[in-house]
């Protein structure tokens, strides 16, 4: 396996700190006692078998789980030291600072331009500045060359991989501090996967990226840190088994279960 070339310093600050997080869907206890520190301007990968709660955990960071009735989070998640679940925190504002990319590319059924301008318009940015923001965001998402002449075309007319990069451009347009990626490459073609992985490498200079992936090679290629989640017994809460620098996880895991997973013994 190949690993990232530029290691993040040990004393890099934590952007997000999770302490003792438990998560419930109604009566179902999905995650138990998770504590993890996400380093700033690094790529952190969440891996684990299907149904182990890694996506659920990811959705705690921008409180997308709030949209599902009957869900509940206990414990604390802090962004730059501020508890995001504290009373009075506006999830809408939080989501402006923490962008999200989904498994299925989900551009809005409107023009490419309007897709990228969506976030800035929500924030009331002036019309005269939009052109530049749209161009910069598409450039940073490596989509400008392909779309500069068809900005008026419907975003749904693009290919799956282009749609996913359009979604990334849409998120980048609001200059988020963190980008959550929920299996962003599992529904698109291999060439596009390559482009998105390159993109993550470029973006990490500016923003903190957390990626959930099924693909261990991908986790190894793109991430600086890896967290391995496991639901040991079906129907019981998942735990964070091991969290470390990515090369350590893949070459010298400390936990037997991690080793079993990455060597393909289950999952």
């Amino acid at each position: 396996m190949s690993y990232r070339a530029t290691p993040v310093a040990d004393d890099a600050p934590e952007k997000i700190t999770v302490k003792g997080l438990d998560f419930f869907y109604g009566d179902f206890h999905a995650l138990t006692d998770i504590s993890v520190g996400i380093k700033e301007k690094a790529v952190t990968a969440f891996i684990g078998p299907s149904g182990c709660g890694k996506s659920t955990f990811l959705r705690c960071f921008n409180r997308m789980n709030d949209l599902i009735p009957g869900t509940r989070a206990e414990g604390t998640i802090t962004l730059d030291g501020q508890d995001i679940y504290a009373t009075g925190v506006d999830p809408v504002d939080l989501r402006r600072r923490i962008g999200m990319i989904f498994q299925q590319p989900n551009p809005f059924p409107m023009s490419i331009y309007d897709n990228v301008a969506f976030g800035p318009r929500l924030q009331g940015i002036k019309k005269t500045e939009l052109d530049e923001i749209v161009q910069t965001s598409l450039e940073r998402a490596n989509l400008w060359k392909e779309t500069k002449d068809i900005l008026g075309r419907n975003g749904l007319a693009l290919s799956g991989g282009q749609q996913q990069r359009l979604c990334i451009a849409r998120v980048l347009a609001v200059e988020p501090e963190v980008m959550l990626m929920d299996e962003p490459c599992s529904a698109i073609d291999p060439t596009s996967v390559q482009k998105i992985e390159d993109l993550m490498d470029e973006l990490k200079d500016r923003i903190t990226i957390i990626i959930v992936t099924h693909n261990m090679q991908q986790a190894a290629r793109v991430s600086d840190f890896t967290a391995f989640f496991l639901q040991e017994v079906a129907g019981e809460a998942a735990v964070l088994v091991e969290y470390d620098r990515t090369p350590n996880i893949f070459t010298s895991p400390k936990d037997r279960r991690t080793e079993d997973y990455i060597t393909g013994r289950f999952g």
Partner: protein, 307 residues
Amino acid sequence: MPSLPSMSSENNSLRLVSRATHLKEIALKNLFLVCAFVAVAGVLLIFGFVGFRGWPAFAEVGPWSFLAGTEWSPTDGVYGILPLIWGTVVVMLGALVIGTPLAVGTAVFLSEIATPRVRGIVRPAVELLAGIPSVIYGFFGLIILRPIIANFTDGLGFGAVTAWFILAIMIVPTIATLSEDALRSIPPGIREASYAMGATTWQTIYKVLVPAAKIGIIDAIILGMGRAIGETMAVLMVVGNAPVFPESIAAPIATLTTQIVMDMPYAAGMHRTALFGMAIVLFLASMGLVALVRLISRFQTSIEAGR
């Protein structure tokens, strides 16, 4: 232990389709064909009949003086239906202006805001509106609404305004249920994307969902238009039935459908023919609306294909 029955080569061969099964298949296929054919034949027969009976109105009165004639006075042999077309359009447009926001608001509420429990109460109620016989709407308009309107205007309350409110309620189920379907057919990922971008519920509704369901909502409004044009009984009971250009929105008017009902029992000769001529106009109007809906959905398909 009992032994398995021996499998001789004779009863191991594939069985052939029996003649009875084969005949049943053919019979059922034809039965469904007949069912579908009845609908098509019905449309063709009615159109043929109405066209055949009404055509002389265009031929003998003259298409221009029939459609654009400003006076409807059958006793004098004057058959101009423009006041009736005008009445139909005024009543329909007013009903749409009042009914559309109500219906689209209902649809948004049902699909985006209501909890499943509330939705379980409101949606059947809206559907029930469609099931109330129109004569009851007419009654309600006549007894309850008309006196209220009369208080605010100087007439008796018979006129377009009263019909607007009644028709507005009557077209709500059509527009609301179809708009709700359009909103619900938006993939859930689109909503998630909007919330994840930091949009509020309200911003998600008016910046993403309603534009995304735009074509479906327009279709719903057009079908509501069809309903408003065709509605007869409830309108008849409240518009006052004067085939003239009204002086005010609260003055008596008549629509194509109400005039047909009013005159049909006694009309004879050319008068009767003119009523069939009006039916042709109605028929063409609803065909036009259906064609418009078709055209719009084709337009949507081509947008999604990228042009």
